[in-house]
Amino acid sequence: MSGLESTGSTTADLIAGALMALGALLVLLGSIGINRFPHFYSRLHAAGVIDTLASGVFLLGVGVFFGVGLVSVKLLLIFVFLLFTSPTACHALARAAFISGLRDDSRRADANTSEAIITKADNA
């Protein structure tokens, strides 16, 4: 591993490179999951891995590269921002899909109760 080209190889750069590489690998795996899993709802979970663990590890790597300071606080801000928005977007997506009637194949016997909940939620 050659570290980060722009500053030469110090230990911190090596750690940063390794963390970012791990994060990128997790992003790649998540994207494979998005294409590999059947049905919309399973794919949501694969995307969730990218939003949380992968981006966390990756941004940690970027933070190691820039060192401790205001920049790492900014990176933390980006991560916390993702931590707030991505599950919200994910939930909104799942909710909209569910209300519009999308189900996966493993529909359970309790599907009727789900329908009842939707009608209640629609009328609320």
């Binding site: 899993f37 709802y41 599950p87 909710r95 209300i99 359970r108 939620a121």
Partner: protein, 160 residues
């Protein structure tokens, strides 16, 4: 009123994190920014106990650390399932009862469930959530209600 004050402090801190220039002009502009934002937030009516909880407690911190650990654990689990493919998953919808009585508590729990890969909050309907789980293990972790129990019950918010 106390929410306005704490929002102002919070926004000032945010400005400092973003800017980081200790110049008088920029600090002055920062003050203008905070005043304008608080005014606009009042106008849009988005300041209240729900959007800006000033309540802080150690249990909440414990909840967040536990959540981060949980995210890492279940991410690895989902990654394994991605590698093994379709045969490794048994997706299904669950109905989960929550012990959260406040809207804020339910939002925290709902987002925590979505944040842990393998489970997504689909609907929030009163005290009952519809959750989609990717596998039996993921389903079990929600049904256990471990995270639910960790959210402090005195989290601020109207009881619904």
């Amino acid at each position: 009123m106390k929410h306005t004050v704490s929002l102002s402090l919070f926004l000032a801190l945010l400005w400092w994190v973003l800017s980081g220039y200790p110049k008088p002009l920029l600090l002055g502009l920062g003050a203008v920014t905070v005043i304008f934002t608080v005014w606009l937030a009042h106008r849009l009516d988005v300041i209240d106990h729900e959007s800006h909880p000033i309540h802080f407690s150690w249990p909440l911190l414990r909840f967040w650390t536990r959540l981060l650990v949980e995210i890492a654990r279940s991410s690895i689990q989902v990654l394994g399932q991605i590698l093994r493919g379709q045969s490794a998953i048994q997706p299904k919808f669950l109905h989960v009862k929550t012990q959260q009585h406040s809207a804020l508590g339910r939002v925290i729990l709902g987002n925590a469930i979505t944040l842990t890969p393998g489970t997504v909050t689909v609907l929030t309907n009163g005290g009952e959530f519809v959750v989609h789980a990717l596998s039996k293990e993921s389903a079990k972790s929600v049904e256990d209600g471990e995270l639910d129990a960790l959210i402090p019950q005195d989290v601020e918010g109207e009881r619904v």
